[in-house]
Symmetry: D2
Subunit: 458 residues, 4 copies
C-alpha cells in the first residue's frame, strides 16, 4: 500500500483554498487535514505551492484522420505531452468514418488508445454519417460510457450533418441523458465565401479568417440552440470564439435552458495578428474557428467570469507546419485545420489567467478541471482534490516560471503557437492515481498507465 | 379624353384623410380639391364613402405547378377575383423549375399572364435551382423590371436552397438594388418531425401544424437575417406567422438593418381550431406556415401597429378541396400546401382591422396598398390617390356589409376559409387606371386589361 | 377672397412627393392638381422647388423666467425668427411658478403671447408644484386646448416633481387623453455630481457635460417609462440626447406601449467639442442635456430612421452670452441652461438631413412638421399640404444655400451655435394661413397675426 | 482540547459531496478523511446523514425599532431560534436613527447584541440620514468590520435616501471595498398608490399587495443598477421578489458588472393567497415587498438555478399578530411590515428545495451558507466544512421530517407563515465553533456564546 503525503500546500478546489496536508493511499485521496500525522508515507513538501486537481481536457483529436492527413500526435505522444503539461484526463473525439457503424468508430478509437496512454481517457463519438439505424445505435455508446456525441455544422460533404440530422441526434441523446457537443459554424455560407475568395485569387492562409467571419459562428450557435429546444435536449458548444456566441449561450441559460459552452486557450490569448505572418507561416494559426480580435477575447474572458462559459479546453488538433500545413500552400482551404495545446493549456491559463489577474485560482481549477469533469460525467472521481477522488493531482509553484518552445515541447509538432512565451508558475509534480508521471517538465510516467473512463450519463 | 369625377368622398391615403373631390383623366389622378368644378366628367357621388388606393397584393401564386398539381386560379380567374375584392395590382411568383434558366422561368410566367389579366401585374422570380451562372443571370431579371427574388428555406429536394446559396442570391440582389424575399422555415427539421409523425401513424391533416412548430419559423428568420448581414443585403420575409419572428424582425430594424416582413390575412384572423375539423376538412387549412394560436395573432397585430410588419398580403395559393387537397388523404405531407385569399384580403382586413378597431383607416391603406407599392418599386404610380398616380381606386361604403362564401366568390375554389363571415364595409367601385372593373361585387372589367409592371430597383 | 396659386412645385408631404399646383383660398388649401386652371389668383412659380408644410416646433421657451433671468426671445422676436426659419406653428411651455394655480400659469402665458405672435401658437403647461387640487385642475387645461403637460425629473427645489407626483400627472393626463411630456434626467444624482465637481474646484462651463453623464438620462427614461406603465398612460420624452434613451424608447414601442420621443437639432448636429472652447465660450453650449459624442449622434439619426424618434424640435431656450450666460462665470451650475434654434431648426435639418443624405425629403416633413402636428392634436389643420388644411406652407429652393450667423439672425441673441455654417437649401417663401410672412430670409409678416391653437386630446 | 469526530456522514460543501469523517478540534475543522483513526474524541455517528456548514443568514432585524413598535425578537430569542433552525451566523442591520451618527448607530447595535447571542453575528449599517460628514464616517465602520451598508429606496420621510444620496453611499462604499445593500422599491410611487387606495376606502391589509405592484420593484432595481454604474461600485439587492428584478440583475451580470441579489424563503414558497385570509389575518403576510404569484416564484427559482440570485436570506423582521400587526387595523399603511423566518429558512429551503427536487444539496449549501459567507467577507471561516474553518456544522437526517408550528417555534412570535407544514429532513445537530448548540429541535447552547464577527472588505 503506497502512501504519499503532500505536506503544507495550499489545497485548491473550485470553491475553496485551504492550507492543509493531503494523504494519498492506493491512488486515492484519503485524508486532508492540518499537520496530519502519517506513517509509512513518501512525504513531499508543498509549502508555498498549490495542490490542485490535474487538468481535464475534454476536447482533443489524437491519431485522427482529417483533411487528407492525420493529426500529428497519437495517444502515446499526446498523453505524454498532456501529462507534462499538468493534464491527467482527456476525452478524445472518436470520429465516425463515412459508412462506418458508430460502434465500429468507437472500437477503432479504443484500438488507437489502448496500451498507449500515460493518463486516463474517455471518448466522445463524433457522428458524421446518419445511416439507417444510427440513431438507435446511440444507446449502445451511452451504455459503454460514451455519454456525449458530437456533430458538425460545417464541412459539408465530409462530416457535416444537416439541421434535421442534428435534431435527431439531439433528441435521442437527450432522451438517454447524454450530451450533444456541437461544432457551430454555418458551413454552407463559409464554403461560398471561401470559394469566392479563391475564385478572386485570394488563396493564402490569411484568407482563412476572412472566410469564417464571426457571424458564421454566432448564427450557427443560435440555430443549434433553437433546434435543441425543439428537440428538448441539452447542448454543449465546443470552441466558442466570439462575443456574439457567448451572449447567445448566456441568454439561453437565463431562460433556464441546458445550454453550455467551452472556449479554448488560444481564443483567449492569441489574436489575428498571427495571420499577418509572412512566408505561409500564417498557416500555423489556421484553426477553426479562426483567432478573433481583442473585443472577442475580452468577451470570452467576461464569459468565463460571469459563468456563461464553464470550460476551457485545448481543442488539441496538431498538424506539422512542414509536411502537413503545406498541403494548402496553394489554396488555404486545403490547409489542415487545427492547432495544438494539450501541453500548453494549463500553463497558459495559469500564467495569463491567474497570474495575469483575470481569474482566481479557484476559477482556474473550475475551468480547467472541475467543470469539465462535472459536465462530462467524471466528477468527483476526477476534477477534485477530496476524499475518495482519484489522486490526479498537480503541484504548482507560483514563484517559478515556465518557458514555452517547440524545441522543448512533448507535442509531436514542429512549432508552437505560444513560442517564446515565459509564463509565471511552474508545475513541479503531476500525479495520476497517485503515481508521479511528470516532474518539473520531464515525463516520468509510462505508456499504458492510463485507463479508459466509462463516463456517467447525467 | 375620359374624365371621372369622384365627388365628396373621404380621400384616404396612408398619412391623411380629407373630404375632397378626385378628378381622374386618362387613367390618372389629375386633381384633388374642395368642390372641384369639372366639366365633361362622369360624376360619382362618394359622400359618406372612403376613396382609397386599390389593393396591392405582392404575394400570389397563380397558375403555379406545385406538389403534383397546380394552383386552382389562373391569371384570368385570379385577377378577376382580385378585382372584385378591391385589389388592383398583384406581384406573382414566377417559379423556376429544376434545370430551368431564370430568364426562361420568367418568360414562362409572362406567357401565363399575358392577355389574361384584369388588373396590372408584376413578377418576382423564385430561384430554386442555382445552376452555374444563375447568379449572373439575376441582373437580366432586374433590368426587365423584376426587382425581387424569392428563395425557400424549406422543401428540400424540391425548391429549397441551402444557406450558402441563399447568401449568394442575397449578395447579388443586394448589389443590384433588388430585394430578396425569403420563405423562412427550417425545412430540414420539419422534414424530420414530419417523417417521425408519419412513422408513428400520425398521417392526418391536423399533423401538418404539429410538424411545423413556431420555433422552426423563428429559427429560420434569425438565420436568414444573420446571412443577410454577412451578405450586406436587404431581406424581406414573406408570410410571417409567429410572435418570435416578428420580434426578430423588430430587433433587426432597431439596429438600422434593412429587414422587413409581411404577414397574411389568415394569420391575423384564423386560428388552429380549423385543424380540429373532422372528415379531412382540416386539409382546407393546410397552408404553410400553419395557422397559429391567439398569442401569435396578437403579436402580429402588434407588429402591424408598431411598424415592424408593414405589409399584409394574401399568399393566395389555392387548391380545391376535392381533387387537390385529397392528394394527401393518407399522408398529410402530400396535401398541397396553400390557401386562398386574393379576393378576401381587403374585405377581411377592413372588416376585422378597421371596423374591428385594431388599425386606423390610414393604416389599412398603408398595409394593403401603399407600403407594398413602396417596398416593391411601384410607388407613387400605385398605392396612392395623388396627383399623377394611376387611378387605381376603390370606393368603400362603411355603412354596408360584405358576406363571404364559396358560393359567391370569384376564386376558382370549392371552399373559402372565411365561409359565412359577414363583415362591416363593402367595396362599391373598383377602378383600374380609371376604368371601372368591379362594382358592388360584380366583375365588370375585362381579361387583358391588365399590363405588366416593370418595377424599379431601390 | 384671396387666392394664391403655387405653380409646378414638388408638393411634399410625409408620405408622398408629387409635382402639382396648389391652390390656396381664404387661408386654406382647396385644390391640388396638374396644371390647375385658376383665375383671379396670385401665381407663384415653384418649378424646381419643394412646396412643403411649414414647420411645427413643439418645444420652445419664449419669455420664460428661468435661473434668475428670462429667455432672450419674447413671443414677438421668437415667432418672427421662427417664421423666417420656416416654422409656422409653435407649442410653447407655460411654466407654473411655485404656489401658482395651473390656470393662472396658463393665463399668464396667454398674456405674454397675445397680439405678439407672427405665427399660430399653442401651449403645454409645465407642472412644477403639485398643490392640493392640482391634479383636478388638469381637466380645465385640457378643455381649453392644452392637451399636453410637462414634468421635470431634474432641478430639485426648483421645478422637479418626484416619481409619485409624476405618477399622478401621468395618470390624470392619460385619463383625459392628454400627453405627459417628460424632461428625463436623474436630477438628484446630477446635483451630487455637480456639487462634487464644484467642491473639487471644477467650476468652469466645460464641467456641465461631466455633471450630466449619458446614464443620468437613460436611467430617467427607463424610470419614467416604468412609471407610465403603472399609471397606464402615454408618455413623451423631450430632448433625448443618448443612444441608450433611444433604445429604451424603442423597446417600449415594441411592446406596443404608447411611448414616444423627440430629439433636437443640436443633438444631431453638434458635438462636445464645443465644451473645449476657451474664454468661457463653452457656456454657449451649456444646454440640457449636454451635447453628446458621435456615437450618440449616430444612434439618434438611426432612431429617426427606424421610427423610434418621430419628432425633431428646437428646444429653443435662448440666453445671451453677455449678461446671461455669464451669471455662471464662477460656477457652471449658475449658467442659464439652454440654447437657441427656433430659426435654425428647419434649415439645419434640411441641410444636414436631406441634403446630407441622412433622411429623405418626406422624412424631413414628417419629423419637423407632420409628426409633431399629429402627436399634439393639430393635424390635419397643421403639418399637411392637403385639402382643407391651413395654408401654412414653405417653398424651398434646393439649389440655393443658407448661411447662418448671429449677425443676420432674427433670434434676439448675441451668438449662434451654428455660426458660420453654410447649408444647402433656402426657404424662399413662408405662408401662414395663406399670408406670406417671410420671404428669402426677410420677415414680411406682422405681430399679432398668429392665433392661439386649442389642440385636441387624442 | 476538545475533539469531536463526526463519523461516516456525507460531507456536503457547495461544490462537492463526499462520504468522510470530520474531525473537530478547538472549535475548528482539522481533518477530513476516510475512516479517520482518532483518539480522545467524542464520536458521533453520521452515517446516512448530511454534514453541512451551518446556515449564514445575512438579513435579519433583531431588536429593531420600526413603525412605532419594535421587532418581536431580540438578539437572545432571535439567535436561539436561528440556532435551532440550523443557522450559525447572522448579519443584522444596525439601523441609524434620524440625527444619529453612524458610529453611534453601530454602537447601539453592539449593545443590543453583546452577551445575548447564541451564535456568531456581524452587522451591516443601514444609512437613513446622510448628515454632513456621514460619507466620511463610513470608513470607520469598514475598519471595525462592517463592510456592508444598506440604503432604502422606499419609506420617504422615515428612512429613504434619494438617488443622489444613494450615489454617494455607493461611491464611498465602493472605494472602500464595501458593499451597498439596497432595498429596491419606488417608495414615492408606492406612497401615492397607497394614499389613493386609502382615499377610496380600501384600508384592509389585502391592499398592501396592491400598493406595491411588481413594477415598483423592477423599476427601482433598474435605477439602482444605473446609479451603481455611475458610481462605479458594487451593489447587492436584498429581498428580490419579482421575475423582472431577477432579469435586470442577470442582464447586469452578463455585462460583467458587480451586481448581486438575494431572495427570501417566503418569496420562493408562499403566494398571494395569504392576502385572502379573513379577519385581518392577511396582516400576517404584510411584509415588503409583498408575496407574489407563481410566475414570480418560478422566476426566482430559475434565478437561483442559473446563478443570478446567489443567496437566500430570511429577512427576519417579526411582529406579533396581536399587539403589533393590529396597529394597522384601520389603515394597512400602519401595519408593521415584516415576517419571520430566522428559524424556518434552512428547513423550508431543504424541504422544498432539495427534497422538492428544485435544487441540489450542494446548491442548498451554497445558497444558505457558502455564498452569503463569501459575499459578506466571512469565508472560509464560515460557510465551509473544510480544514481551518470554524466548526459551524449541522447534521441533517434526510429520512426524518420537520413540522413547523407557532406552538413549537423559538421565534418570539404568535404565528408562523408556514404553520402546519411538514417538511422532509430534520436537523439533528447544530455546532457553533465545535459546541453543540441545538439538538433535534431543542436549544442546548447558551446566551453569550456568540462572538461579533469583524468582516473583511472585498
Amino acid at each position: 500500500m503506497k502512501r504519499i503525503h503532500l505536506q503544507g500546500g495550499t489545497v485548491v478546489n473550485s470553491g475553496s483554498s485551504v492550507v492543509a496536508d493531503v494523504l494519498i493511499e492506493d491512488g486515492c485521496v484519503v485524508a486532508i487535514g492540518k499537520n496530519l500525522v502519517v506513517e509509512d508515507a513518501e512525504a513531499i513538501d508543498c509549502a508555498g505551492r498549490y495542490v490542485m486537481p490535474g487538468g481535464v481536457d475534454v476536447h482533443t483529436h489524437l491519431d485522427a484522420p482529417m483533411m487528407n492527413t492525420k493529426t500529428a500526435d497519437d495517444f502515446a505522444s499526446g498523453t505524454r505531452a498532456a501529462a507534462v503539461g499538468g493534464t491527467t484526463t482527456i476525452v478524445d473525439f472518436a470520429l465516425q468514418a463515412k459508412g462506418q457503424k458508430l460502434e465500429d468508430a468507437l472500437n477503432g478509437w479504443h484500438q488507437k488508445a489502448i496500451d498507449k496512454c500515460a493518463i486516463d481517457y474517455g471518448f466522445h463519438v463524433a457522428i458524421t454519417d446518419l445511416y439507417d439505424g444510427a440513431i438507435a445505435d446511440i444507446e449502445g455508446l451511452v451504455r459503454s460510457g460514451v455519454t456525449s456525441m458530437k456533430i458538425y455544422m460545417a464541412y459539408k460533404g465530409a462530416i457535416m450533418l444537416d439541421d434535421g440530422e442534428m435534431y435527431e441526434v439531439l433528441r435521442e441523446s437527450g432522451r438517454l441523458g447524454a450530451k450533444t457537443c456541437v461544432h457551430a459554424e454555418n458551413g454552407d455560407v463559409i464554403d461560398r465565401i471561401s470559394a469566392n475568395l479563391v475564385a478572386s485569387g485570394k488563396t493564402g492562409p490569411e484568407n482563412h479568417a476572412l472566410s469564417r467571419p464571426p457571424a458564421t459562428e454566432v448564427e450557427a450557435v443560435n440555430r443549434a440552440i433553437a433546434v435543441s429546444r425543439i428537440a428538448d435536449a441539452p447542448i454543449y458548444f465546443v470552441h466558442l470564439s466570439t462575443g456574439g456566441a457567448t451572449e447567445a449561450v448566456a441568454e439561453a441559460q437565463l431562460n433556464g435552458w441546458p445550454v453550455a459552452g467551452e472556449t479554448c486557450t488560444h481564443y483567449l490569448t492569441l489574436g489575428p495578428d498571427l495571420y499577418d505572418l509572412p512566408d505561409f507561416e500564417a498557416a500555423k494559426a489556421v484553426l477553426t474557428p479562426p483567432l478573433r480580435d481583442s473585443n472577442h477575447q475580452e468577451a470570452l474572458w467576461r464569459g468565463l467570469n460571469n459563468g456563461t462559459l464553464g470550460i476551457v479546453s485545448s481543442d488539441h488538433c496538431p498538424f506539422c507546419f512542414v509536411g502537413q500545413k503545406d498541403l494548402g500552400r496553394h489554396d488555404f482551404r486545403a490547409i489542415p485545420n487545427g492547432g495544438a495545446g494539450i501541453e500548453d493549456r494549463m500553463r497558459v491559463m495559469y500564467g495569463t489567467g491567474v497570474a495575469g489577474g483575470r481569474i482566481s485560482l479557484e476559477q482556474f481549477v473550475a475551468l480547467t478541471s472541475t467543470n469539465p469533469a462535472k459536465s462530462f460525467g467524471m466528477f468527483p472521481t476526477k476534477g477534485f482534490v477530496g476524499i475518495g477522488a482519484d489522486a490526479d493531482i498537480i503541484v504548482l509553484d507560483p514563484a517559478a516560471t515556465t518557458h514555452i518552445s517547440a524545441a522543448t515541447q512533448h507535442q509531436a509538432l514542429d512549432y508552437n503557437l505560444w513560442e517564446g512565451w515565459t509564463l509565471p508558475g511552474a508545475i513541479t509534480h503531476v500525479f495520476s492515481r497517485g503515481e508521479l508521471i511528470a516532474s518539473n517538465g520531464r515525463f516520468v510516467g509510462r505508456e499504458g498507465h492510463g485507463n479508459y473512463l466509462a463516463r456517467s450519463a447525467v
